[in-house]
């Protein structure tokens, strides 16, 4: 099977202890409606376990959502772990309650894009389709 025919695979997860998942569940539903294969990890995951699952499941995208303020530390660890496992080609996306001034810091860690609360589901779907397409072509 050629990679072009492969459905886009996404792991959506909540790292750390934050329990708010209204936003991430909406994204999970929208990505599924768009025909992607989505694994939702549920809450209370360590960055280590998310990266492990992302590699095991051979996903194109790892999307995380954090609303309790721990996004900088958690995303830095996630990006570092992906690099250590030589899996930096998995596109790391972050969403949640993230102040705009933190976005450049997250991108410097290796987060490809940040979708704050209020981001449109359609925009998230389109972005993932685009980066997954680039990844398949590479």
């Amino acid at each position: 099977m050629s990679t072009a025919q492969r459905r886009i695979r996404v792991l959506m997860g909540k790292p750390g202890l934050c329990g708010h998942d209204r936003g991430i569940v909406l994204v999970v539903m929208a990505l599924r409606d768009a025909g992607m294969e989505v694994i939702y990890s549920g809450r209370h995951n360590s960055p280590e376990s998310l990266v492990e699952v992302a590699i095991q499941e051979d996903v194109d995208v790892l999307g995380v959502s954090i609303l309790a303020g721990g996004h900088l530390g958690l995303c830095e660890r996630l990006a570092k772990l992906l690099r250590e496992r030589n899996a930096q080609d998995i596109v790391l996306l972050a969403g949640g309650f993230i102040p705009p001034e933190d976005i450049p810091k997250l991108k410097a860690f290796g987060v490809r894009e940040v979708f704050r609360d209020g981001a449109k589901l359609e925009d998230i779907v389109q972005f993932i389709e685009q980066v997954a397409g680039e990844r398949a072509a590479a």
Partner: protein
């Protein structure tokens, strides 16, 4: 006869204004939960005999209010909500508030504490002291309440999964102060069921979690009669996206589950029913339905407590409702409009006759609220209380054709949803099967799609948008030095205490937890002994984890 006449008259009126009415009804109006809003309500829409249905205020079924005189004798409580940092900072804040004649605010705990993890647990990294105070052991509780007389102070704690540990800390500290336990007042949130489906701070699987709640209810019924051990939170459901019928039905289904379990244990309903109250949302959206919701809640609750649970004391039958406006309805765009939203939310709660109202601050969408916006939120309630005249009349919308019809329909829909949950085998089954999560997720998805498509208006966001820069914010900043201090403190505690006594106490918790849930194996006494020996929250929850395991949530929608 009278109603027939009205119906005929309405039909004739429709004929006379046919075009106008047809145009208005071409797009049907409905509340978010699907309850249809008619263009016009008449006595034919309200029940034939409204007074037989709703009665008078202060009397069964309490639809028109818990108290005969409504707000004229006693206004609703204007709630104060505040956050704070370390145990010693919290102590300073509490003492200052008490010195000024107030009561301490509800205590917020950080996430590691709420999840039963000590500050030095690997998963706690970066989250210690962030969303509230970090409390690792009785030693922190002693610091927080240093110089505060627990016999005279109402202490509310927002804690769920490890609630039993916090009740134990409070009991031990009260005993150390020489307080009379029968006079101790306070409140635990202790509503674990909604953690599984909405708020997310769960530890153990559902059944043992429920056992812990019942253990606290039973312990309080026996030893702390003035303490309120349970605060059923419907309000977390709409924040997670649920519609209003689901908000109420799920909150009641949770409450009935706790009551059923406590009654099975042999606790009499009139001995603990008054310590159960509801923390809901009061929102400005579908405002008339919000009023109907509070009225219907009182009727459903009173009826169920009297007829099903056999409550004899009318005080037990009263559905006490505290409500905050919903943070998820605030917007970052044109944030000043959040004041308008919360003002209307306050009005909805007042027209609904509830006991306590808390309003969100206009700028908390950006981070920690400013003092100015806190004062606006409190002042908004003072305007509604003292300038509108609304508190002068009990249940002023009672008898409104529309509100009575909505109240009756809301009640019907909630009872239907409760019956659906019963058919599934009860709320525990409904949670474990993923039904509740799925229902909430689908509500949230529908609402979100409606906002994105613009069929549902959010002023400033999808209509009347004005693009402006976000104001400077005060974010919830992570303080590594705070985390290190708490880590060092808990490690010092583990060196200094009598570790043999701690091990023995933890072993007793494990042994008790292994026995079936019943009065003889209530976990409160061994938890109290462990707390007294300065076992940490993480160690006590760890002992329970050993026996109960951890909850693994359904993740399909």
């Amino acid at each position: 006869m009278y109603l027939e006449q009205i119906k005929t008259a309405e039909d004739e009126w429709r004929q006379r204004h046919q075009d106008e009415i047809a145009r208005a009804e071409s797009a049907p109006a409905a509340c978010e939960d699907g309850i249809v809003l008619k263009l016009l309500y008449t006595p034919a829409d309200a029940k034939a005999d409204v007074y037989a249905e709703v009665g008078f205020p202060g009397e069964f079924p309490f639809t028109r209010g818990n108290d005969a005189a409504g707000y004229r004798n006693k206004l609703w409580t204007v709630s104060h909500y505040a956050g704070f940092g370390s145990p010693s900072e919290t102590n300073v804040l509490f003492r200052r508030m008490i010195d000024h004649g107030g009561v301490p605010p509800y205590m917020a705990l950080d996430l590691p504490t709420q999840l039963g993890l000590d500050p030095d647990h690997p998963m706690a990294r970066g989250e210690v002291g962030m969303a509230g105070t970090s409390v690792a052991s009785l030693r922190d509780w002693e610091t927080i309440f240093d110089g505060i007389d627990l016999e005279k102070t109402f202490v509310g704690t927002v804690v769920n999964a490890p609630a039993a540990v916090f009740l134990a800390m409070h009991v031990v500290l009260a005993e150390k102060q020489g307080a009379d336990l029968t006079k101790i007042r306070g409140n635990l949130q202790n509503d674990i069921l909604k953690e599984f489906t909405a708020r997310g701070n769960f530890i153990f699987p559902v059944a043992p979690s429920l056992r812990l709640v019942t253990d606290t209810l039973e312990y309080c019924a026996q030893h702390l009669p003035a303490y309120w051990p349970l605060n059923v939170c419907g309000g977390h459901y709409p924040e997670a996206g649920a519609n209003r019928v689901h908000e109420v039905a799920f909150a009641f289904a949770d409450a009935f589950t706790y009551i059923d379990d406590a009654i099975r244990r042999g606790v009499a309903i009139d001995n603990f029913g008054q310590g159960v109250f509801f923390l809901m949302k009061t929102n400005h959206t579908d405002l008339l339905e919000e009023v109907a919701k509070f009225r219907a809640m009182r009727k459903i609750w009173a009826t169920r407590l009297r007829d099903h649970y056999g409550a004899k004391d009318p005080e037990t039958m009263k559905c006490r409702v505290l409500a905050h406006s919903g943070g998820s309805l605030l917007t970052r765009e044109r944030p000043e409009l959040n004041i308008a939203r919360t003002t209307l939310a306050c009005v909805a709660g007042v027209l609904g006759g509830i006991q306590l109202i808390g309003l969100r601050t206009m700028d908390e969408v950006f981070g920690i609220p400013t003092e100015k916006s806190e004062l606006i939120a409190i002042g908004t309630q003072h305007v509604v209380a003292h300038e509108t005249g609304l508190p002068d009349v009990v249940d002023p919308l009672g008898g409104s054709y529309c509100v009575e019809a909505l109240t009756a329909e809301f009640e019907r829909n909630v009872l239907e949803e409760l019956a659906r949950i019963d058919r599934m085998g009860g709320m525990v089954k409904a949670i474990e099967s993923g039904y509740v999560r799925k229902a909430i997720a689908q509500d949230a998805y529908r609402t979100h799609r409606a906002w994105e498509s613009g069929t549902k208006v959010k002023v400033g966001v999808n209509k009347y948008r004005i693009d402006e820069d976000e104001p400077p914010r005060q974010p919830y900043a992570y303080k590594p030095e705070e985390e290190q201090r708490q880590v060092a403190a808990v490690q010092r505690l583990r060196r200094e205490r009598d570790n043999a006594a701690v091990s023995k106490a933890l072993e007793r918790i494990v042994e008790t937890a292994r026995r079936p849930a019943q009065s003889e194996s209530n976990l409160m006494p061994p938890i109290i002994e462990a707390v007294r020996a300065y076992a940490t929250v993480g160690e006590i929850c760890g002992a329970l984890r050993q026996v109960f395991g951890e909850y693994s949530e359904p993740t399909s929608f």
